[in-house]
Symmetry: none
Subunit: 401 residues, 2 copies
């Protein structure tokens, strides 16, 4: 990939508009009974017609064979090297609940968990704790005071919480206390470099206090921490691409990711039609829109093939409305694949189609994994999507004379 500094040199502010319509976990896999993927079963005439007008392909979010989390897969889609720009889980958790991360903060993702009388973990998710109970326990944990750092304990949802340590000279070079399995006790935090020894002590002191606070609060009588991370230093999309991007996403984490890369996050509702209304209202205010649809991924993660088909058909009905806004470049893709057959994220390349008036359209008439890969873009790194969009939006100056 060409360096971000060069992209920055070439990027020009123009009036053309780019729309990235991102269906989370878009890519699927053939259902064993029917031999067809979710996209192949769904009736999606508008997506099919969109493919016919577009340049088509499939993307590798990170690299062939690699299953991405939402953080790196979105970064790739926004034009960043997802290996170089590594966002820790702790930061993703913080972004997800709008926690204002500061420069001296180290964030952890926390799980409420159940331990038995011997301190052995019996449930890593505390029976998938109710969010309301989570809030009550976080309020209790906020009474913990450590000598040299400020500690924030915030509810995410269910059994998940965020723990942030704020202080001078803290380090994120500490290991997880979550062993990622039951039948063993929580691990102590260990420093992974010399400077991080005091930080590991701080984490372990906090957890010792937390264990006392949570005593008797079964099933949530323990706290497991993982994904220590400070705020990454990422150049923003306005800086790199001279864009003024707007983000429309109903879920906090995606709003947080969008904020991290310098997008203005727009208030929106829960359904794709709510999101569409937000898009329409703000259409004049931005030259790039990230429009995130979560339901495709949720159905995939739930292993619900038919539900994913249904969501795809619903989303299909939205396409003409999006087209009527006449974006100069209209990209429909996903951040990663989430086949219902695997009940989770997967490494499968992700369907991609880009329409603009400057496209030499391919001879592809179906919006499916098998059809799109035969398009002119073939299989390509997701990181190139932004360059393609910027090129077709005529927002990149000529390189060299």
């Amino acid at each position: 990939m060409i360096p971000l500094a060069l992209i920055q040199d070439l990027s020009e502010k123009t009036s053309s508009k780019i729309l990235f319509f991102v269906l989370d976990g878009l890519g699927g896999m053939p259902h064993p009974d029917v031999g067809k993927s979710e996209l192949e079963v769904a009736r999606i005439p508008n997506l099919d017609r969109f493919a016919a007008l577009s340049i088509c392909g499939v993307t590798d979010p990170i690299a062939p064979g690699i299953t991405p989390g939402s953080g790196p897969s979105h970064l790739a889609l926004f034009g960043y090297d997802p290996i170089r720009f590594d966002i820790g889980r702790g930061v993703l958790s913080a972004l997800g609940i709008d926690f204002p991360i500061g420069p001296n903060d180290i964030c952890f993702r926390a799980n409420f968990a159940t331990v038995d009388a011997d301190g052995v973990i019996t449930d890593r998710r505390a029976g998938r704790l109710a969010t309301e109970l989570n809030r009550e326990l976080c309020a209790l944990l906020r009474h913990i005071h450590l000598p040299e750092v400020e500690v924030f304990v915030e509810t995410e949802s269910g059994h998940r919480a965020l723990v942030v340590f704020r202080g001078e000279g803290l380090s994120d070079f500490v290991t997880d206390t979550d062993p990622q399995r039951t039948g063993v006790p929580p691990l102590p935090a260990e420093p992974t470099n010399e400077d991080a020894a005091p930080m590991a002590q701080i984490v372990n002191s906090f957890l010792a206090e937390a264990a006392m606070v949570l005593q008797g609060q079964e099933p949530a009588n323990a706290l497991l921490l993982r994904g220590a991370a400070g705020m990454p230093n990422i150049p923003t999309m306005p800086q790199i691409f001279s864009l003024s991007p707007g983000a429309i996403a109903a879920y906090p984490m995606y709003r947080g990711l969008a904020k991290l890369v310098g997008m203005e996050v727009l208030e929106t509702g829960a359904t794709v039609w709510d999101e569409f209304e937000t898009l329409q209202e703000h259409w004049d205010a931005h030259d790039f829109f990230y429009f995130h649809v979560k339901a495709t991924d949720s159905a995939g993660e739930d292993g619900d093939f038919n539900q994913k088909v249904q969501v795809l058909e619903d989303v299909d009905s939205l396409i003409p409305a999006l087209q009527r806004l006449q974006p100069d470049v209209f990209v429909i893709t996903g951040d990663h694949s989430s086949p219902a057959a695997l009940s989770g994220h997967s490494w499968h390349p992700v369907p991609f189609a880009l329409f603009s008036k400057t496209c030499i359209s391919d001879d592809i008439s179906e919006f499916t994994e098998r059809a799109l890969v035969r398009g002119s873009l073939g299989r390509f790194p997701a990181q190139e999507a932004m360059l393609l969009a910027m090129g077709h939006a005529q927002k990149l100056a000529k390189y060299g004379a």
Copy 2:
């Protein structure tokens, strides 16, 4: 891409011959009225047959979405990383008029421009000055003498000229004096590193003198400089590939580029048939030929769809004559795309076909953007073209035991 040093290790001198037939700005775009590109409209039976015998694909000269200038796009085609080997505008200008750049030279592209009584630029191109007037003004500017450096002022064409400073220890780390817009005065040259302060002074002294010389010469009463650059240090094609390459190009800039990478530049005439005669005459003297056709790009840049179709049909008639020379590897491609619909260079991938007896030919029977991309090479970096050619010419030794 594999390192040049490794390619150098593997490259072997053999008697096989490679022909790169480069149609400048070859790639096009569908005409809005007919929905077909220039290549799709043109009757080009010889190119179609050539595609049928070849391995086919399309190239990205720099990266997806990036519109290349001729300098970097040619470097990529000759096997160089076009980001790493950056040739400044000043050097391209010098190459374009056969100026013999020396090791102590710093070259600038110069524009004659118009400034008003307050010194504010009103026209960056001095009303697109006649070349004859340009010559007269350059003759006047040659009377300027600076204490420590030699200055050369040479006409390119229209409002464009070349200014070269020659002296010990000069630097190209100085900013442009051309603000790239009207309504503001020219900028002073500023050093971009510490060592370049004297160079910035030299440039500014020269421009102060030039302002006096040009006083009253409206519309060409000012000179704007940009693209400071010294001769790049580029390993040559003979060094890297053990080739003895010959270049056939009617336009100075392409001859200059060829010289830069170590080709012998052959004297030739203005038409493709003149160029063909040159090729035929020198066929025995070289094992690699770069044959450049400019007319495809000129028609594209002029936005003349029908003219580009006509040029393609003319070029098509030359193909059998080229085939009769029996090159062992025959590549037909462009340096970049220049769709008539965009009246200029574009980011669209570039048609590519390579014939040799060792090819496993694709099932492609049309030499068009849409057909070629379905070939076995798909979409690939132009920088790989030389490796493919060297491989099929059996000029690369086995890598590893």
